[in-house]
């Protein structure tokens, strides 16, 4: 492995050298454009999810340029490939900010990649728009979280199951890393506060890419035979989902008996599965492609035309980028500058329409307001919305369910602090 890093590094240096050379040769061109960084993995394990987000950003930038660009300048997308390698995310972020001088970066998928680039964005003072649902417990000055916080996805989904499906026993199944662990901790505390007993909660973690689900599915079946309605809350991530659902289907567990509600399974993930055995299983998101609204119809049509693929689906993190990009454009227009400090101060309070017919707003804690939808899997790989929240739900940076974070709020407007303690009125826990 030592060899490989040195090769990568040499390669990197060469690329960097080349980039610097080019920058020296073409200084004039750089000034006519505003550069926007796109930091999504195009190779490696996460390419399956992140490539789409790169494409959607390219489409949004192209569209903005057709409208005349921003502040009279054209936007220029700078695409880099962090190759699903977490330390490389930080290197590439540094390259985007220092070499390419981008005005803002749209990127990252996994929480670990976000944590890896965080010090870079703080040090170099730039802006990151992070489009994926995540575990919360964070509010940083340089990051804008356009995906869902746990209270915008996990908690409403559990409420739905308890109310509509009368679920009394819960299986919390997840992949073993920070997002499922934190989300399950929040959910466990929430369920207990609703009077669910410890013996009615089963928590299970599996490694990344787990392929042999026989034992766990059999355990779920056994857990579900206690005479109480049982449901699975799944934070299983990425590739492990397909064999999980296949095993459920093969062992004859249908959504009628034990429904599974997933937080990481959307239209893109279902594109690789025969969805007939999944009929009726649930997903909680802030956007579904099947939602009927003029904005969504226009977006999906444009997306299919841009990718030249009539079967290309759209999903929730894509919508998050659409909202995030629109908010950034509005903020830049408001302060008439791409200077990160000015834009960061201008962003809270900015509103942008989401694709499901509402208006999302950037909050002082750098999270946004979103509607929450529960969808059931249809035979064609899309979702039927069976429930939605009234109006939009503001994202909580710090969960109200956890002991350590109950009193914290993120407030970058009045307190200029990501973890303001409302009890002690001090910054920091």
């Amino acid at each position: 492995m030592r060899y490989s890093t040195s090769i990568t590094r040499r390669c990197l240096m060469a690329t960097a050298g080349l980039a610097m050379g080019l920058a020296a040769v073409l200084p004039a061109r750089a000034q006519d454009t505003i550069k926007v960084g796109i930091l999504h993995s195009l190779s490696g394990t996460m390419a399956i999810s992140e490539t789409t987000l790169k494409d959607v950003m390219l489409m949004l930038i192209e569209e903005q340029n057709k409208k005349g660009g921003l502040l009279g300048k054209k936007l220029e997308a700078v695409v880099v490939d962090p190759a699903s390698n977490w330390p490389l995310f930080a290197e590439k972020a540094r390259e985007l900010i220092t070499k390419e001088k981008v005005a803002a970066v749209f990127g990252c998928w996994t929480s670990v990649s976000r944590k890896s680039v965080l010090p870079v964005f703080k040090e170099l003072n730039n802006i990151l728009f992070y489009p994926v649902q995540y575990e919360g417990e964070e509010s940083e000055r340089n990051v804008f979280y356009t995906g869902a916080a746990p209270n915008q996805q996990a908690i409403p989904a559990v409420d739905y199951l308890a109310k509509e499906e009368k679920v009394q026993r819960w299986v919390l199944a997840g992949t073993d890393y920070v997002y499922p662990r934190t989300t399950n901790k929040i959910l466990e505390a929430y369920l207990k506060s609703k009077g669910v007993k410890q013996e009615d909660i089963m928590i299970n973690y599996t490694p990344f890419g787990h392929a042999d689900w026989q034992t766990i599915v059999a355990d779920i079946k056994k857990f579900g035979s206690a005479g109480k309605k049982t449901a699975v809350v799944s934070t299983i991530n990425g590739d492990a989902n397909v064999p999980f659902y296949k095993e459920l289907g093969n062992q004859g567990i249908s959504a009628k008996d034990i429904p599974v509600v997933a937080f990481s399974v959307g239209e893109e993930e279902l594109a690789g599965i025969d969805t007939k055995p999944l009929l009726g299983h649930l997903a909680a998101w802030n956007y579904f492609e099947s939602i009927k609204s003029p904005a969504n119809a226009e977006f999906t049509a444009k997306w299919k035309a841009f990718t030249k693929n009539p079967k290309r689906v759209s999903n929730d993190p894509m919508e998050a980028h659409v909202i995030g990009f629109a908010m950034w454009v509005k903020a830049v227009e408001k302060v008439k500058s791409t200077d990160p400090d000015k834009v960061i101060d201008a962003l809270p309070g900015i509103e942008a329409p989401n694709l499901t017919g509402g208006i999302s707003k950037m909050l002082p804690n750098h999270h946004i307001t979103k509607p929450v939808f529960i969808g059931e899997v249809r035979g064609d790989g899309q979702f039927d919305v069976v429930w939605k929240t009234e109006g939009l739900v503001p994202g909580d940076a710090w969960s109200k369910e956890l002991e350590g974070s109950r009193d914290l709020v993120g407030d970058w407007v009045t307190h200029k602090c990501g973890n303001w303690n409302t009890k002690t009125n001090k910054c920091g826990s």
Binding site: S43, G224, A226, A255, G272, E376
Partner: protein, 532 residues
């Protein structure tokens, strides 16, 4: 669950009452149908109950169409689309063209349960024993008190033993949950359910509402204990079966590596990508079959196996001829070169097919499961075990009984001697590497049935494959078999206690310790073939 049953029961009762009072079922039926046109889950739910209770001969068709997603509505009209695609007016049963804006009546999980319960009630008297069995199972789950009369009638004339048992179990379930049933009836019902002795039966007994008589409660508790004891025993069998199944997957993935690494000594990091290529061949075969001749779909895997073998085998030969043959005897360089090849292959597939998962369907004979005693055996896992053993036997036969096998063994045992006997060793090297890669390709066909078909498919198996081959003893096929099955079974017996993550770690630690003690694995090669 309860409230939804109550609604159904209410609607049933109401429906029966009205039907009895007016004797005009046609009107009720049409009125009930209107509920489907509201596009509201609650209205659809009442409509299901009312249609089922109407006694109209079309009711079964309507509910069946609803379950299959073939019930359409437009304005205030409801249409049934039959399997051929023609539409009928649901009110009259006569052919009628549905307007273009006709939309499917939507279902959610609650409604699917109602549909199942309604269908169960309607098909208890069906002529087809399989349908009667399904109906009995549906009633067992829904415990719909209104089905009791039909159940008794069906039981009286049932001749098929299996269906009869299912019917009496369903009857017992209904009686057990009926508040008005006598204690003796309930205790008899518990006896019947206890004999069923599976997890559904346990769930039924454990979910018994409180407020039963003391004797009933005791009988139920005893029955649960007895079922639990039986299930605990079956649990061991189940773990062993799952272990066998996991072991067969490991063996399948490792068996090609046992050739390239075990026999030839090439540390082939691109082995996993050969598996991935095999899976993509399966995908291509299925795509072509879907487009050209969907009737052949069940045979798609049989077509894919030889193609995957040939394709992955040719890629293997190409790699051997262009890269590996220059690196024999230099393990570190081989390792790096093949690792590079694996990255190239992954990215090539990603560029051609895109980064997302590809859908590989299961043929009908590989979907579903059957009950064997107290465990559920899924067909895909069972066939993979059979397939793995067949591949293993074929490979052993090839090495033992064919000229190519003889030459392979000769070259790997003593290259110089084999060459001087007139064997073209370079050709044998290429063919051996091709064989190993081809078998990896076949493994890809089988793994596409249980795992994702994505460019990353191979990465998940490469480490496990090396573990199996090293643990079993390099250069020994039987060792690979024993090692794969041992690791599989050990993993599955550890998993329930330690969890999937810790279980995997424990296995790894065990192998490290084992290799310290016996560096050459379980079955070490002896004799002159072993270089010092």
């Amino acid at each position: 669950m309860l409230s939804c049953e109550r609604i159904i029961a209410l609607v049933f009762a109401l429906g029966l009452l009205i039907a009895g009072a007016l004797g005009a079922s046609a009107q009720n039926y049409e009125a009930a149908l209107a509920g489907f046109t509201k596009d509201s889950f609650n209205d659809t739910d009442s409509a299901i109950g009312a249609v089922a209770a109407s006694g109209n001969p079309l009711a079964l068709d309507v509910i069946q169409a609803l379950q299959d997603g073939r019930l359409l509505f437009s304005g205030d009209k409801v249409f049934i689309k039959d399997k051929a695609g023609a539409t009928l007016d649901a009110a009259t049963g006569k052919p009628a063209a549905a307007p273009p804006d006709a939309a499917n009546v939507r279902l959610n999980n609650r409604l699917r349960r109602s549909v199942e319960a309604a269908l169960g009630g309607l098909t208890l008297m069906s002529n087809d024993p399989a349908r009667r069995y399904e109906a009995a199972q549906a009633v067992f789950k829904s415990r719909d008190a209104n089905a009791l009369a039909t159940l008794d009638a069906a039981l009286a004339k049932e001749t098929d033993g299996r269906v009869k048992r299912a019917l009496s179990e369903a009857r017992a379930a209904v009686i057990l949950y009926q508040a008005s049933a006598s204690e003796n009836d309930k205790i008899a019902a518990i006896g019947t359910i206890k004999e069923r002795a599976d997890q559904d039966a346990r769930g039924l007994l454990a979910g018994l509402p409180t407020g039963q008589g003391a004797t009933v409660q005791k009988a139920a508790a005893d029955a649960i204990t007895s079922i639990d004891n039986r299930l605990a025993l079956w649990n061991m069998v189940q773990n062993a079966w799952y272990g066998l199944s996991l072991g067969s997957v490991l063996l399948l993935a490792a068996i090609g590596l046992a050739i390239t690494f075990g026999v030839m000594g090439v540390i082939n990091m691109a082995h996993g990508e050969m598996v991935m290529l095999g899976a993509y061949v399966t995908f291509m075969v299925q795509e072509i079959i879907r487009a050209r001749n969907p009737a052949l779909f069940d045979a798609s895997l049989f077509i894919a196996v030889p193609l995957a073998f040939l394709f992955a085998g040719s890629v293997g030969i190409l790699i051997e001829r262009t890269v590996i043959r220059f690196l024999y005897g230099r393990p570190l360089e081989t390792l790096l070169a093949t690792w590079g090849i694996s990255l190239i292959l992954q990215q090539a597939v990603r560029t051609i097919f895109g980064p997302t998962n590809k859908e590989v369907g299961n043929p009908s004979w590989m979907s579903g499961a059957f009950e064997f005693g107290g465990i559920t055996i899924t067909y895909n896992r069972m066939w993979i075990i059979v397939f793995t053993l067949a591949v293993f036997a074929a490979l052993l036969g090839l090495l033992r009984f064919t000229r190519l096998g003889l030459e392979m063994r000769a070259v790997t045992q003593n290259r110089a001697m084999a060459a001087s006997m007139g064997i073209r060793t370079a050709r044998i090297d290429a063919l051996t590497f091709g064989l190993g890669s081809g078998i990896a390709g076949i493994a890809g066909v089988a793994l596409s049935q249980i795992d994702n078909v994505s460019p990353n498919l191979g990465q998940g198996y490469i480490i496990d494959s090396f573990l199996v081959v090293v643990f079993g003893g390099v250069g020994n096929l039987w060792g690979t078999l024993v090692a794969a099955l041992t690791l599989g079974v050990a993993n599955k017996f550890l998993e329930p206690f330690a969890g999937a993550v810790l279980g995997k770690i424990a296995i790894l630690v065990f192998i490290i310790l084992f290799i310290q003690k016996r560096p050459r694995g379980l079955f070490a090669l002896k004799g002159r073939a072993v270089e010092a």
